[in-house]
């Protein structure tokens, strides 16, 4: 991955009242279809990062304080249509963005998001929504620093889902009435979702990880990607702080500028530090 600015930006119009210029944390999202193993990977990744000393906050789709109950109840009934479905997700996402993600990033955490706005895009588009509309709705979202995409084809996905927990009504897209058979509907629906994810992978430059591999192999690949991103960010932070220090280190009268004085008076350290970097 090429070095990119650590500055965060909004996906669209953003939240005009929320300042994001000082978000020093890193936003990493895992995407991929139902049953692909995202949550397990997030858990392992969190563990690994914490062992290394990173502060990690995890956030997952529909888990907001405000909306999780309402979404659960709505999915149990038959009231939702594509429009209300999308808006419930967006409300949940906004709550977690403002209450969890942004504050954590401001405090320098690594935020691991199990699913992100791309899940809403895929599900809405498969249900016939105008893709511009749903993207506008999520215009308040932050663009992640890294999107890890667990890529799998539907035939590799099926045995995995059947072995772990079986097929769920919504994961089979039964609301789309693609057929009365659960298995066939699941296959059709997931095929469409995966096609949408694959399209977005190109458009939004997801980092794809082959999810047909073993759990350990997938995790190793994820750690490699996350590790190099965090290393890059460290070097970037060092470079940035060096940039702010530069005038103090090399300009003869720099010590006189306000706020620039080294309390210990050890200005002679400067030349010894900089060539090494």
């Amino acid at each position: 991955m090429s070095a990119q600015s650590s500055a965060k930006r909004y996906f669209g119009h953003g939240l005009p009242y929320s300042e994001i210029s000082h978000l020093s944390g890193t936003l990493i999202t895992l995407e991929g279809t139902d049953g692909v193993g995202r949550s397990t990977q997030v858990r392992l990744l969190k563990e690994w990062l914490e062992v290394q000393g990173y502060g990690v906050i995890e956030t997952g789709w529909t888990r907001s304080e405000l909306m999780s109950e309402t979404i659960g109840a709505a999915k149990a009934g038959h009231r939702l249509n594509q429009l209300t479905f999308s808006l419930l997700y967006a409300t949940d996402f906004a709550d977690r963005l403002e209450k969890i993600i942004i504050p954590a990033l401001r405090s320098g955490f690594v935020v691991l998001a199990d699913r992100y706005m791309y899940t809403a895009f895929a599900r809405s588009v498969v249900r016939g929504a105008d893709s511009r509309w749903i993207r506008n709705v999520f215009g308040f979202a932050l663009v992640p620093d890294l999107v890890l995409y667990l890529k799998v084809d539907v035939d590799a996905l099926l045995p995995r889902v059947l072995k772990s927990r079986g097929i769920d009504y919504w994961e089979a897209g039964m609301d789309l009435h693609l057929g009365t058979d659960l298995f066939d509907s699941f296959r059709k629906y997931q095929w469409r979702l995966i096609r949408e994810y694959n399209r977005m992978a190109r458009e939004f430059r997801f980092v794809s990880v082959d999810a047909s591999r073993t759990l350990e192999e997938i995790q190793a690949r994820i750690r490699q990607k996350v590790g190099s991103l965090l290393e890059e960010r460290k070097i970037q932070t060092l470079t940035e702080s060096l940039e702010t220090l530069r005038p103090l280190l090399f300009e003869p009268d720099a010590g006189k500028t306000p706020g620039g004085q080294d309390p210990s008076g050890h200005r002679s350290l400067a030349p010894a530090v900089s060539p090494g970097l």
Binding site: G12, H13, G14, L15, P16, Y17, E65, L66, M67, E69, T70, A73, A74, R79, L80, N81, L83, T84, L87, L88, A90, T91, A94, D95, L97, E98, K99, G128, A129, D130, W133, N136, V137, G139, F140
Partner: protein, 228 residues
Amino acid sequence: MPTAQTRASRRGRLIVVEGIDGSGKSTQIKLLHKWLASRGVQVFFTEWNSSALVRQATKRGKKKNLLTPSTFSLLHATDFADRLTYHIVPYLKAGMTVLADRYIYTAFARDIARGVHPQWVRDLYSFAVEPDVVLYFRVPLEVAVGRILGSRAKIKFYEAGMDLGLSPIPVESFRLFQGKVLEEYDRMAPEYRFQVIDGTRSIDNQQQRVRAVVNRLFDAGRPVEARA
């Protein structure tokens, strides 16, 4: 949005009342309802923030002050989408007249006053059906504030815009927030061609104006006046 419909593709009429709290719009829409019904017009009434889908979340969010400008906006959009699906579109398709106490303009005015992006909230509601007429009850801020303070024991947190931190005193915050909302309404009036009704006039005088406007909406060959 694929659900968006133009006026031409449906048969019923959609009549909307708008205005700040205390503008008198709810009184006027009730009187309009009575009149239309007495003339044999099939009427269905719907009001802002009343769907069962997000009632629980909205209630909890307001009670515990959990809402941010964006979640406040999105919850109301979800409520609206649900009502549009169940309480507005089917009635219009059946040829009935739908009376809406507040519509998307309430969201625009309040959400923009709260600080969300003006274009974002307009795009958010682009799935809405365009009304046949928007009756905007315009009153000066002090008149509306006086009516509300005179009739209510306590102003609610979000109603007073307390989440914006405009003032720690509820009455003062209410005044400042409603002032911002009023500014947004006035800005929208020409943009969306609101029919402006002077809300400082007497109730029956306003109602005559309302009925005149609505009468013009109905088939020229069979206006409401000629029915019953």
